[in-house]
């Protein structure tokens, strides 16, 4: 009989070393939208990750082919549901590009003010949620309270907090309210103070800095080749902002800066968003100064815009025009167009194909989130499990826009 210890020497000590598979999402508190990450973990290191999107797919593009061009507005509201007004403006601009018309100046300023407020709400949500996921709950509450003010303002302007359905081809659903400028100034003042306070609270916190600095780094080349745009691309140092690169509305006449990062890590993405809120405040102030108090908001073309109600009630021409637009839908000329604007997360583009009937032939959205989420795999592979939370949070993936 052999001694026991000899057997031990010869035998291999077996350790279960196959990687552990871990599912995060689709309904995980750290996953903003409904996205599922299947991770292969070796200890705490992520060896391989499979990011699966599509849990919020509602067939946005197909649904748009059912109704009229105007009936697309409620759908675009529900794409990026943190800044729906930017989507409204982007889609209206795409249709107007196809028609070859430009809305009156007052409407352009109005769209800028509402759009920049929506951008602020987008950035407040992203930075607030990012801080909350790292354990800083107070800044989240402050920022959400500030966002609430934006939504109250938008409710006063549009009639609904979130699903505004306020954009129209050739104008807006209603003219600005009388106290828009006062409200916008008061709200931006308050948001700036919240941003300052949040900065004071977070940027001296070493735990917060340690968890963001050098985490989720992406190179400029990678970001560009993945098609990243918006704050995530600017965090790598590329100063690409559609508002500057190919100005639309009145952005070319406004004085604002494009904040960029230097390393492309989570901290830069956080800071770029904070800095952009300050720039948005500058834009809103300038737009408030330059927007006229009186004047037309909608373009003067009865083929595009519904006639005023008094005319519909009392004249046969108005009634006929009204019925033609409502029953047949607004007719966009046959052709195709790609129009792009700066959304909350980057370049928000609409590629529209019209066959000349009142119904869209094809509506294709270029959602910035989809391309940004495609880069998630690259920035978290090889990182620690805990780094997923700030990395994913800083990308600001919005399910409705990513999955359509």
């Amino acid at each position: 009989m052999e001694p026991l210890d000899q057997e031990l020497d010869e035998a291999e000590l077996e350790m279960p070393t196959e990687p552990m598979l871990l599912n995060v999402g689709p309904a995980h508190p750290a996953m903003h939208g409904t996205v599922r990450c299947v991770m292969e973990l070796s200890g705490e290191i992520i060896e391989h990750v499979d990011v699966q999107v599509g849990y919020l797919h509602r067939g946005f593009e197909k649904m748009c082919e059912r109704g009229t061009w105007t009936q697309v507005f409620p759908y675009v509201d529900r794409c990026n549901y943190v800044s729906p007004m930017l989507n409204n403006v982007a889609f209206a601009l795409a249709c107007e590009k196809m028609l070859g018309v430009t809305v009156p100046e007052r409407c352009q300023w109005y769209r800028i003010i509402l759009g920049e407020l929506a951008r602020m709400s987008d950035h407040l949500t992203c930075d607030g949620a990012m801080a909350m996921e790292l354990g800083a709950f107070t800044p989240f509450l402050w920022m959400i309270k500030a966002r609430e003010m934006i939504w109250d303002l938008l409710e006063e302007e549009t009639g609904a907090r979130l699903t505004h359905s306020f954009g129209r081809v050739g104008g807006m659903a209603s003219p600005p309210t009388d106290n828009l400028k006062d409200n916008a100034r008061a709200v931006t003042q308050h948001i700036l103070s919240v941003v300052d306070e949040v900065e004071k609270l977070l940027l001296g916190n070493r735990i917060f800095l340690d968890r963001l600095e050098g985490i989720g780094v992406i190179s400029q080349a990678d970001a560009i080749s993945l098609g990243w745009t918006g704050p995530c691309l600017r965090a790598t140092g590329v100063a690409y902002d559609v508002r500057k690169a190919s100005p639309y509305l009145k952005y070319g006449e406004l004085d604002f800066e494009v904040p960029v990062g230097t390393t492309g890590d989570c901290f830069d993405r956080f800071m770029v968003r904070l800095a952009e809120m300050r720039q948005s405040a500058r834009i809103i102030e300038q737009a408030c100064q330059r927007m006229a108090d009186k004047g037309p908001v909608n373009i003067d073309d009865p083929r595009i815009i519904l006639p005023p109600k008094e005319e519909v009630y009392n004249t046969i021409e108005g009634t006929i025009q009204h019925f033609k637009i409502v029953m047949e839908g607004l007719k966009l000329p046959a052709g195709e167009v790609y129009a792009y604007t700066e959304g909350g997360n980057g370049e928000l583009g609409f590629y529209l194909v019209s066959d000349g009937s009142g119904t869209p032939y094809r509506v294709r959205i270029r959602p910035p989130c989809f391309l940004i989420t495609a880069g998630l795999e690259r920035i978290i592979t090889g990182a620690m499990m805990a780094d997923v939370v700030p990395s994913f949070g800083s990308l600001n993936m919005i399910g409705g826009e990513c999955d359509r």
Binding site: G67, T68, T70, Q71, P74, M149, D152, E155, E156, T158, G159, A160, T163, S165, A173, S174, T177, A186, V187, H190, E197, K200, L201, L203, G204, N205, R206, I207, L209, L212, V217, S219, Q220, T236, G237, V238, A239, K244, A245, S246, E257, V258, V260, G261, T262, T263, G264, F267, D268, M271, L274, A275, K309, Y313, N314, T319, H322, F323, V326, M327
Partner: protein
């Protein structure tokens, strides 16, 4: 590792770099910064408790934007909805209590959610409105399908449907209760308490209107 800031596009846009973390000694040693951070939160905490204790709570409607606690104790306290708020629909009435609606189906066509169902009917023989316009025999809105976009109000050519009740969609027990029939919709008053239409179009037979008796001229 620092990336170069690149200038892009025909405008040669140059970005303004954001600051990197300042890791001073006080940040690296945790304690002083924790005290500072707590100081900021405590400032808010004491301010809020003081306001609560002395009954100086902000009025959530008038001072909703101010610092401090702006909670609305729903349902005891309600925030009034803004003038443009799109609430539950209502059908406006004429002077004699008949629905203003002429069953033209504009609203149900414009509705992206297809939640409006209208069955049109003729006014009875002898009614001056017979042959001039129709009326809705049934007018049903499924408030569960409705997405409150307001397109129906915009599409109405006679100011018959409005969303100015100032009432948000109420919760009910069953799906049937969300199907609003004509009588329910006509029962809601507007914000100003009136059920009348604002449409200035004349009734048939009245002077100045270009309707049924046009052929006689």
């Amino acid at each position: 590792m620092k990336n170069e800031t690149v200038a892009l596009g025909p405008n040669q846009v140059v970005g303004a770099p954001v600051p990197r973390p300042q890791r001073s000694a006080s940040v690296q040693t945790y304690i002083p910064e924790i005290a500072k951070g707590l100081g900021i939160t405590m400032k808010h905490f004491f301010q809020n408790t003081k306001e609560m204790a002395f009954g100086q709570r902000n009025d959530p409607v008038l001072e909703g934007i101010e610092d401090g606690i702006n909670c609305i104790s729903y349902p005891e306290q309600k925030r009034p909805y803004p003038a443009r708020f799109r609430g539950v629909h209502r059908l406006t009435q004429r002077e004699d209590g008949a629905p203003r609606c002429v069953a033209c189906l504009c609203c149900s066509t414009a509705c992206p959610a297809q939640c409006i169902h209208i069955e049109a009917g003729e006014y009875p023989e002898g009614d001056p409105r017979r042959g001039y316009e129709r009326f809705p025999k049934r007018f049903v809105i499924d408030e569960l399908r409705c997405i409150f976009c307001g397109f129906c109000v915009e599409a109405c050519p006679v100011d018959a449907i409005r969303m100015d009740t100032g009432v948000h969609a109420a919760p009910y027990d069953s799906r049937e209760q969300f199907i609003f029939e004509k009588d329910i919709l006509m029962g809601f008053p507007g914000r100003d308490g009136s059920r009348l239409t604002g449409n200035s179009r004349h009734e048939p037979g009245e002077g100045g209107h270009p309707g049924v008796d046009r052929d006689k001229h």
